[in-house]
Amino acid sequence: MTLTQAPIEPAAAAPGEAAAPRSDAELVLAARRGSAAAADELARRCRQPAYLLALQLLRDPDDALDVAQDALLRFFTHLDRVRPEDGVKPWLHAIVRNRSRDLLRRRRVRRIVRSLESDRPEDRIDPVDTAPGPHAGVERRELQERIWRALGELTEAQREILVLRDYQDLTYDEIATLLRIPLGTVMSRLHRARRALEERLAAAGEVPHA
């Protein structure tokens, strides 16, 4: 599911040797030249990352799927504007973020209130045990659910920067570019958001233990 950044020019495969998986940049170039197979492969790679970011920002799977599909449509419509040397990820993130934001704005305008019932963490988080130890997985999942719940109580701006850094693992540089804010602001805004999250967890009597 990781979007790779790799050299633009494909390395020629030796005769009889299986072709190595192509990088995103190679796929972009091939799709631009009209290769349907490259476009399909690129779409497959971009789907889930687009959906994940949309889900984390919007917290609604149906909205997230709509936004991700719309974002992919836009991505391929403007494929000629993608700079392969910069990677696909930043471009895709920017589209998903803007589409998510549009949707949030429309929700505000129409005063659509999401039911808390529809935002249950157990419906969003996959119970995959990623931690070592017999009980660690359960504890971790509980913490993840509490964090997800607390995240929903933050402001949109706080949630957005936390998602970008702590869920999407974007660098400060990438966040600054995406949000169009100075690098120093990323650090201060992120820290405020982390503190707000901590406070929400503490208020709910759910202070995490590192």
């Binding site: 419509t77 803007n98 505000r108 969003r124 993840q144 120093g184 650090m187 992120l190 820290h191 982390r194």
Partner: protein
């Protein structure tokens, strides 16, 4: 403990004058703790945080707590949609172009009909039904437009994203 700052992160500006807002209550710029955790501080700021953490248990605890939260968030796995949930929509942009063209033609058609209706009312005799149809349609369109505009204007002052490019 977090990794040391990497060179690419040296662009993060040095913090400004210390503020007494650290969890310990000392004069220490608290956001440096997040920068330290993420390994993006300059070497001097990094050293400054290390020295502070050495004799500040509350900030040490906070860094550990933030690290725990980040680690939990980063390892969260989400339920993903199955492949068959994705639309096989055209990716050429053709549908988008068709939609835009259709919308433009619709607006042009509406303007032409409205102009013709108004011209008919102004230049010739019209029955009550014709007047109601023309003026009623125009009033409905104007009301719809005004309502959307009012919503936009109401949310504009607080809309931090109005400058964001689509």
């Amino acid at each position: 403990m977090p990794e040391p700052a990497h060179p690419a992160a040296a662009g993060v500006p040095r913090s400004e004058a210390p503020r007494p807002d650290a969890p310990c209550g000392r004069r220490f710029p608290e956001e440096l703790l997040s920068g330290f955790l993420d390994g993006v501080l300059t070497q001097s700021d990094q050293q400054r945080v290390r020295l502070h953490l050495e004799d500040c248990p509350s900030c040490r605890a906070q860094v550990a707590e933030l690290a725990g939260l980040r680690e939990a968030a980063l390892t969260t796995r989400f339920v993903l949609p199955a492949d068959d949930q994705w639309d096989e929509r055209p990716r050429t942009g053709w549908s988008r172009l068709a939609r835009r063209t259709g919308f433009t033609l619709l607006v042009l058609w509406f303007l032409a009909v409205a102009a013709a209706g108004l011209w008919g009312l102004a230049t010739g005799p019209a029955s009550v039904l014709e007047k109601v149809m023309v003026l009623g349609g125009l009033a409905a369109a104007a009301l719809l437009f005004a309502s959307v505009l009012a919503d936009r204007l109401r949310t504009l002052p607080g809309d931090r994203y109005r400058g964001v490019q689509k």
